[in-house]
């Protein structure tokens, strides 16, 4: 995503004429320093509450930092080496990646399909758009609780529906893979409509005469979709994949509230669906209060996100077949 900087010349200060009056001096000071004054609140607040914590996390991660202890001995990279041998950490990594894969792939495919539907000449267009976006604006915590009940073992609606078609009840909370599916369902439910609208916006920027000439050449709808729409959407698809990667690997609220009872931060008795962020919380806050170890988890999570995002981008570059005409891809990137 390139940033387009404003090409137009900025407003020039008023030209100086004759002797300076106090008002003119004020005006000069004003044009010179006001911009800094205007952006200062962001940088001051972000510096204190955004940048400083970031650097400090790394510093904390190099210490044996117990919240209740009074001194915090420096231990170098010990937290990291311990973490790399910690089976519970790797278990959480596998959970996170598993949930990420089985949520993101169907989600983006469904969003593409949904966007393609919404891109037709529709009656009640706004209503449909609002309907598919509703999941995205609801309270995550509330919805996680509702889905926790829908996926209940005994009286959950999902198992009841499965029973109607002759499938035995599934242990959504105590079976590892089933709990991944349940949590992925929540994530998909929340984000499919949102991504569909992003795709729709990009689709509407594709010139329609491309489709017309393709139709004249005898290409059917499916062929048009895969040969025109998808390649031209590639920048947008990469964008949504990166956003989904960042969001998906940080997953916390849904799996945390999917479980209740004793120690829900573990994501089930056998850590069936404990994500990396939950593992960070378990270590940094109750019950362990080990800030050094928790910080190390946070940094490894960051590394994981960077690695997975990079892999995704590389894969997507290779896939996607035909190269989009350059000017279309550009104009869309500018619009984002």
């Amino acid at each position: 995503m390139t940033v387009q900087l404003d090409p137009r010349p900025p407003v020039a200060p008023a030209p100086r004429t004759g002797r300076r009056t106090p008002a003119m001096r004020f005006s000069r000071l004003d044009t010179k320093y006001s911009p800094y004054l205007f952006i200062a609140p962001f940088f001051v607040l972000f510096g204190v509450f955004g940048a400083y914590p970031l650097i400090y996390t790394f510093w904390v991660s190099l210490h044996d930092w117990d919240l209740l202890g009074s001194n915090h001995p420096f231990v170098g990279l010990e937290n990291y080496s311990r973490l790399l041998e910690d089976p519970d950490f790797w278990h959480a990594v596998v959970n996170t990646l598993g949930i990420f894969v089985i949520s993101t792939v169907p989600q983006l495919l469904a969003a593409l399909w949904l966007a393609n539907l919404l891109n037709r000449q529709l009656r009640a267009r706004t209503t449909f758009r609002m309907a598919v976006l509703i999941p995205n604006i609801t309270s995550t915590a509330a919805v996680a609780i509702v889905f926790g009940v829908l996926f209940g073992r005994e009286f959950g609606m999902v198992n009841w529906l499965l029973d109607l078609v002759g499938i035995d009840a599934i242990e959504w909370k105590s079976n590892r893979f089933a709990s991944w599916v349940a949590i992925s369902t929540m994530v998909d439910w929340r984000w499919t409509g949102y991504n569909a609208l992003i795709f729709l916006a990009a689709m509407q920027a594709i010139p329609r005469d491309l489709y017309e000439s393709a139709a004249i050449d005898g290409a059917g709808r499916a062929r048009q979709f895969w040969s025109i729409t998808v390649p031209l959407l590639k920048p947008t698809i990469i964008f949504t994949v990166i956003i989904s990667t960042i969001g998906g690997l940080q997953l916390f609220t849904e799996p945390r509230l999917f479980h209740s009872g004793t120690n829900p931060i573990r994501g089930g008795t056998l850590r069936e669906s404990q994500t990396v962020t939950m593992y960070m919380f378990e270590n940094a806050f109750a019950p362990h209060y080990n800030f050094g170890y928790g910080s190390a988890v946070a940094w490894l999570l960051f590394a994981l996100i960077a690695v997975v995002a990079a892999i995704n981008v590389l894969l997507l570059r290779r896939l996607g077949g035909a190269k989009p005409p350059k000017d279309h891809a550009k104009s869309k990137e500018g619009a984002r």
Binding site: V11, A14, T31, S34, P35, F38, I39, P41, F42, L45, F46, V48, F49, A51, Y52, L54, Y56, T57, N119, R120, Q121, T126, F128, A131, V132, L133, P135, I137, T138, S139, T140, A141, A142, V143, I145, V146, F147, G148, V149, F155, W160, W189, L197, I198, A201, R208, Q250, F252, L257, S260, P264, M280, A284, F285, F291, A298, L301, F302, I305, R336
Partner: protein, 277 residues
């Protein structure tokens, strides 16, 4: 052309199905919230509203362990304060980045964009330690102050100000003797109003919805946000599910209200590519 883009019946059927799937969990939340607890053990599950909403609400409000009302009040305070602040500081900085000339402008803008890519998780622990030092743990400033500015807001307002405010207008105001602050207030802010409204709506919803950071820093059960009150409810009261669902329904209501009133603007904002994170 028309034939190429016409929506078939199948299109409508698929869209209606998608719409029903989208709305059903929320609808069902209100169904359970309006029924007695027996509804939870019924098969097939009931799908029409009952008449117990009032009773459930009063049980929820009288539940002294949940601090639900305190949560609602706290969430309102937090969300409104954060929204006003984000909109104000974002329009201010966005105007400066789009229309004013100063040294280091591009570099500073890159810093702001970079801040949008950093995961919140990374800052949770040191932020917690910082709040301990400031003695803000368990108090609302801990949730409010770190959220007062967002890189996303500044970036969004910069993009919009670039198109919405013409340089001629600013020059004319300067010739008329306006200083930069007055130009912001009398010329730029009115022009930015539509985008500022979208930013405000999104900020309000995100803040109302936030769970992770309040969960870390507000440990006093008597002083929760509404989402934390829901957590307390659902962790402790599984037997009284209609009460829990009443809570989730009430916590979702402000968001639904905002969406019904301003849905078009929100969709417009997303489709313009304004929404990035």
């Amino acid at each position: 052309m028309t034939r190429l883009w016409a929506a078939s019946r199948l299109t409508y059927a698929a869209l209606i199905a998608a719409g029903v799937l989208s709305i059903f969990p929320i609808y069902w939340m209100f169904v359970v919230a309006s029924r007695s607890n027996d509804a939870m053990g019924q098969l097939p599950p009931p799908v029409t509203p009952g008449g117990n909403f009032g009773a459930n609400v009063s049980r929820l409000l009288n539940n002294t362990d949940a601090y639900f009302v305190a949560g609602l009040v706290n969430s309102a305070i937090v969300a409104v304060t954060v929204t006003v602040s984000v909109v104000f500081f974002s329009t201010l900085a966005g105007f400066a980045f789009a229309k004013l000339r100063f040294r280091g402008r591009n570099a500073l803008l890159m810093v702001i964009i970079a801040t949008m890519m950093v995961p919140t998780q990374l800052g949770v622990i040191p932020l917690y330690l910082l709040m301990t030092k400031l003695n803000w743990n368990d108090r609302l400033p801990a949730v409010i102050v770190p959220a007062l500015v967002t890189g996303f807001g500044v970036f969004m307002m910069r993009q919009y100000a670039g198109q919405a405010v013409s340089n001629e207008l600013i020059e004319a105001a300067r010739v008329d003797g306006c200083n930069t602050a007055r130009i912001y207030w009398n010329v730029v802010l009115p022009a930015l109003r539509p985008a500022a409204a979208v930013l405000g709506l999104l900020t309000f919803m995100t803040t109302w919805n936030d769970f992770l950071w309040p969960y870390a820093v507000l440990n006093d059960p008597e002083n929760p946000t509404v989402q934390l009150a829901l957590r307390t409810l659902s962790d402790g009261y599984y037997t009284d599910m209609s009460q829990v669902f009443t809570g989730t329904a009430i916590a979702t209501l402000p968001l639904l209200l905002v969406f019904v009133l301003f849905g078009r603007q929100i969709i417009g904002g997303i489709m313009e590519g304004a929404v990035k994170a």
